[in-house]
Amino acid sequence: MDILPILSTLRRHKITAWLLIMQIALTCAIVCNAVFLIGQRLQRMDMPSGIDEHNLVQIKVAYISNRPDATARAQTDLAALRQIPGVQQVALSISLPFAMGGPNSDVMLDARQKQRTLSASNFFGQNLLPTLGLKLVEGRDFQPGEYVDLTTATAALQSGELKGLPQTVIITKAMAERLWPGQGALGKTIYFGQGVPFRVIGVLAGLTRSDSLRNGADYSMVMPISVDLTSGARYVIRCAPQDRAQVLGAALAKLKQIDPRRVVLQKGTYDDVRRAFFANDRAMAGILTGVVAALLIVTALGIVGLASFWVAQRRRQIGVRRALGATRANILHYFQTENFLLATIGIVIGMVLAFGINLFLMKHYELPRLPAVYFPVGAIALWMIGQLAVLGPALRAAAVPPVVATRSV
């Protein structure tokens, strides 16, 4: 196929050709970035939590007030929940992955350190590991004697009395790697606040924090601190996935029966928690997908429109070429090559634009750099769309009979 005649034709339709090129370039740039954004959101929504999400239901009841029998009431609730058929484990927890809200602590490697080494999410509550299904890769779970209740721990922290504080902590593997790269974490000490030491006795495969994911999504630690119904605590119940609805209903009824005055703030399976946490991301991914589809359709229709116009305009020229011996395939290939050329120039400009848009997004929306793989994929997508769009008009051009040349002169 000879490119020179195509170029000389395009030179006579400079503006139209440039318009098409610019449209392809802009589409390419936006589609590359939009697909990248969709990928980012989907990846975020797929973030592992480290817990057995499909086996859990959770209930959050309103914090009544600081009353002396709070601990006893929490124990009554837990005992009653354990009685429900199908329930395997029960815990009362502060902080759960993706649950929003929950304490964070600045962690230091040295007691005298001024700046934090990292910020980690704190998980408090008894029986957390078996209930949530957390997997230890090293070390052990807490023993019953290690637990301190939250009020005592907070008071001890205030007075600087180390005796009232727990001594041990279980951290995630990601956190251990960050604190002591390439070394074992077991037996090492980390410090909080005014240099309060905690010894690492266990390392978890993974546990995602409740929010502030940008501070390191998997920097979490479990402390041997038992909680009662303080604000932010939730009941977590472990059961078989198929029992969840029935267990949740029974648990709610039981809690209402123990204290009819209580207000349930949140309830649902863990799938609900995840869905709520990532609702925005899902909506944004949906919108972006719609935009990408609409963009590609508009661009394809634009190509169809222009190509049809060009075919109609060149009917006589096509007829002459056919009369002079050009085959249908020659004509077909002519329009296909023309589109390929335009698309290629558009894609090259589009890549530069895509890179520029990505730089802008990196600056204003804290996005990572666009991976290079998006460029060839975007290019192939636009080439294909261009070829598909031009096929119809090109076939119509190829169908022009040679007799047109004689008729219209």
Partner: protein, 440 residues
């Protein structure tokens, strides 16, 4: 002449329905996308108190007792600073603000208890922010001073508990205290919930929660501290929170102060007062820094907190890029269309039509496409807004097409299509008649 051009344009559009449909569709989709996002942007970034926001200010101090030369004032105040500044009554109006949740029942109504959001504030809140009341009145300054057990409730809560009837004088049980309802708000939905905007710069662009509905219960500040004792949470603390100490005496910030200052003189006067207060507190040994005060006006404070969610801003950029592509598309198609009629235009020129006339005729045709595209765009905008109303975001119920945006849709559509039409029309008007006549 215009009517004749309209007629010509209609004939021309009818002659190539597919091409016309493509152009109208491109404009409609582009307008639909950009007007949807622009409407959301307009509703979210608007002035919540038009006409008075320039008189509303948000004073800030730095109550920390350890010296840090690079610190910024906190987004809220500690109890003592806030109450000191409020009691001085140096502004035209001033209101303290803090939010908490508490258990609410209505003793005479057979409905389950609910956790209600309560705004603790002072009497000036209502006139300062022009809060509309349906029944009764706000509480008085005496009620503030007497720690009266009174409350104002939202229209939503009134509908839920009392079916929208006049509930003034009825009783609510808040936690363990009975309070008397003195006022019921008319429906009030500021966008954003401006008086409570804090900490926007820590939210990573995810600021949809600033568009929540106002609270259901409004109570005198000092009364509410007694009624919901222990139910308040700090915004942040500059040293560890001691469980034995009341929040009022803690090293935490959790109260906001809004003031209304009617003139530039009063504004600079209040700034001086704020600086003098910080100086005095430093002398007393409570503040480490006297020079760390700040006072934004309402719109500056909203900007500082970047209230418009970053997703919404990103969508707006995207929509306008989309409109640009649709415009390129339309320019290309219009150019093709006009040049295809070169023969016809040549004849018109030879018969005496001026370049101007050909140009005008082409633009009328482009404008006609814009009008049709605007109609389509309007439908798509309504569809887009309907989709956004169904999203699980706090501002979903705020989203509607207001008349100004309705007008803007058509203006934008016609402007876009005229813009798209200029280049093709220019080219068409440059057609040399002789050349065209020769080939006829």
């Amino acid at each position: 002449m215009f009517a004749y051009y309209m007629d010509l344009a209609l004939r021309s559009l009818r002659r190539s329905p597919v091409l016309t449909a493509l152009m109208v569709l491109a404009i409609a989709v582009g307008i639909g996308a950009s007007m949807t996002t622009l409407t959301v942007m307009h509703l979210l970034s608007g002035d919540p108190l038009p006409g008075r926001s320039q008189h509303i200010f948000y004073p800030q101090v730095d109550p920390t007792s350890h010296f840090n030369p690079h610190s910024h004032p906190y987004d809220m105040m500690d109890y003592h600073s806030a109450v000191d500044l409020w009691s001085a009554q140096r502004a035209d109006r001033q209101a303290l603000i803090t939010v908490s949740a508490l258990r609410l029942t209505a003793p005479t109504v057979n409905q389950p208890a609910l956790m209600a959001q309560m705004l603790s504030t002072t009497t000036d809140f209502f006139p300062m922010f022009a809060v509309p009341l349906q029944y009764g009145n706000a509480w008085t300054a005496q009620d503030d001073a007497r720690h009266a057990r009174v409350a104002v409730i939202s229209a939503d809560l009134n509908n839920k508990l009392f079916q929208g009837s006049n509930s003034v004088g009825r009783t609510l049980r808040l936690k363990d205290t009975d309070v008397r309802i003195v006022g019921v708000l008319a429906p009030w939905r500021p966008s954003p919930q401006f008086y409570e905007v804090v900490g926007g710069r820590f939210s990573d662009g995810d600021t949809a929660s600033f568009y929540n509905r106002p609270e259901d219960v409004f109570m005198p500040f000092f009364s509410s501290l007694e009624v919901n004792d222990g139910g308040f949470n700090p915004f942040t603390c500059w040293s560890a929170l001691d469980p034995g100490v009341k929040l009022q005496n803690s090293t935490c910030v959790w109260v906001a102060l809004w003031v209304q200052l009617g003139s530039a003189g009063k504004v600079s006067g209040y700034r001086d007062y704020l600086a003098a207060y910080a100086e005095q507190q430093k002398a007393l040994g409570r503040f480490a820094r006297a020079d760390n005060t700040r006072m934004f006006d309402l719109m500056q404070w909203l900007d500082f907190n970047r209230v418009v969610p970053s997703d919404v801003r990103l969508q707006t950029w995207l929509a306008f890029a989309f409109l640009a592509i649709c415009l390129f598309n339309t320019i290309g198609l219009l150019l093709a269309k006009f040049l295809r009629r070169a023969g016809e235009i040549g004849v018109r020129r030879a018969l005496g039509a001026s370049r101007m006339a050909v140009f005008a005729q082409c633009l009328v045709e482009a404008g006609m496409i814009g009008l049709l595209g605007g109609l389509g765009g309007l439908l798509l905008t309504l569809l887009g807004l309907w989709l956004i109303r169904r999203q699980p975001v706090e501002y979903a119920d705020l989203i509607h097409l207001d008349p100004s945006m309705f007008g803007l849709t058509f203006a934008l559509a016609i402007a876009a299509s005229l813009l798209a039409g200029v280049l093709p029309a220019l080219r068409a008007s440059r057609i040399v008649p002789a050349l065209q006549l020769k080939t006829l």
